[in-house]
């Protein structure tokens, strides 16, 4: 437990120190949100709620993938060995997952505010939507962390990450889009219950498989 806390502390400290990476992600988010705004500023009435949700989830997915991809890529060569000596692989993957969840949730919430500001707010039941957003970010963090570790050890990490990540995350996105649609229609919490529970189940599954499989990658 203490090791996980220390690793998390180290991750956050590192992130605060390397402001460029975090700033880059924020800019990525703002840039893509602004492009979406400019594209639809010509015809505001073309931006139906469903287009809003498609744009929103696409931007969340892309930012989350580029954020999580660097969780193993950006590190220096010797750092792996140092961490290897300090903590068990299980502790490392859990710390990375928690950290990636915080990062992608922050980006998701940031995207939400950006969309409210620029593209309006079609969501009528906000509580289930917000819960769905958090669960989707958790799912992205749990499933993409392992893939980031795989991609970092292959030759073309930057191309490989989206190739591996997109198909795996589609099931999360399908559920998220369904929840968003129900929330746009204002159907309330009961209508999203099945989808939210399935999201929880997928998160548990992805987290557990990542936890079991990560030591095999880490060893190399």
């Amino acid at each position: 437990m203490l090791a996980i806390y220390n690793l998390l502390h180290y991750q956050f400290a590192l992130e605060v120190k390397r402001k460029a990476a975090l700033g880059g992600l924020a800019l990525y988010l703002c840039g893509s949100g602004f492009i979406a705004y400019l594209c639809f500023s010509l015809h505001r009435n073309q931006l139906t709620p469903l287009v809003w949700s498609a744009l929103f989830w696409l931007i969340v997915l892309f930012t989350a993938i580029s954020a999580i991809a660097k969780s193993f890529v950006g590190e220096k060569r010797g750092l792996d060995v140092y961490l290897y000596a300090l903590a068990s692989p299980q502790q490392i993957i859990i710390a990375k997952m928690i950290y990636n969840f915080c990062l992608s949730a922050a980006l998701g919430i940031g995207a939400l505010f950006l969309f409210f500001l620029l593209l309006g707010n079609p969501i009528t039941s906000s509580f289930p939507f917000f819960l769905g957003l958090l669960l989707t970010c958790l799912g992205l963090a749990t499933s993409l962390t392992l893939l980031a570790a795989i991609a970092a050890r292959a030759d073309h990490a930057s191309i490989l990450m989206p190739v591996l990540g997109f198909p795996i995350t589609i099931s999360l996105l399908l559920l998220a889009i369904k929840i968003t649609k129900n929330c746009i229609d204002g159907l309330g919490f009961e209508s999203c219950q099945d989808e939210l529970l399935t999201l929880v189940a997928i998160n548990c599954m992805a987290g557990a498989t990542g936890y079991v499989l990560f030591p095999y990658i880490w060893r190399s």
Partner: protein
């Protein structure tokens, strides 16, 4: 090498499937009509695909427990065959949909789920192609293979069942929904599943032998 008994069984089952599938009586249903015979050729592809991917996953797990390139070759060969079965399943489904739904691609949840599942496995082959070191490749792809199989479960077994669909066997289990299946069709359907799956295993074993011979002579 001796011709194993199950290979004779495969040949017999498939001859029976093709002959029985085209000639035996089937229930007359509106719209579906004779296309109901697609059941003998389309549905077994998915049964076969799941079985082949499962075998591939099992060998990936065995690789991680006790690394040897032999296990890796088996895992890849079965994944390739699963991929082939998935493609055939999609193509046969599209032919069927063209006659019953009016267009080959209808955006049905089951079609989309199947297409995404194939994308997941295409990524597996891309991953294998982008790692040079043999052992590194075997280990990374084994990890991804296990993860991909787990990620495929909600895509194929859960989400299509949560949404309404025009696919036959909807509102229940699309694979095992045999409660409303005509008894005459069962006589061909079950042997068809066994026959096609065995054919997949047969081709996979041939591929494994080719890969072994190539690595011996390399």
């Amino acid at each position: 090498m001796k011709f194993a008994w199950w290979k004779w069984l495969t040949i017999a089952l498939l001859i029976y499937t093709i002959a029985g599938g085209f000639l035996f009586a089937v229930p007359r249903l509106h719209i579906v009509n004779e296309t109901i015979r697609a059941l003998y050729f389309h549905v077994p592809m998915w049964f076969g695909m799941i079985f082949l991917f499962l075998t591939s996953t099992v060998y990936s797990i065995r690789y991680l427990r006790k690394p040897s390139l032999q296990q890796d070759v088996v895992a890849v060969s079965f994944a390739q065959l699963g991929m082939l079965f998935g493609l055939l399943g999609i193509v046969t489904g599209m032919i069927w949909a063209n006659y019953t739904w009016g267009s080959p691609w209808h955006g049905d949840p089951k079609q989309n789920g199947a297409a995404i599942a194939l994308l997941v496995y295409m990524a597996y082959f891309v991953l294998r192609g982008s790692v040079q070191n043999e052992e590194q490749r075997a280990r990374l792809s084994a990890v991804y293979n296990i993860f991909a199989f787990v990620a495929m479960i909600p895509l194929i077994f859960v989400i299509p069942r949560m949404t309404s669909s025009m696919h036959p066997g909807s509102g229940g289990n699309p694979g095992f929904n045999m409660y409303d299946l005509d008894n005459r069709m069962r006589l061909v359907f079950y042997p068809a599943v066994a026959g096609w799956t065995l054919l997949g295993v047969w081709i996979a074993t041939l591929r494994i032998r080719i890969a072994q011979l190539e690595s011996e002579h390399a």
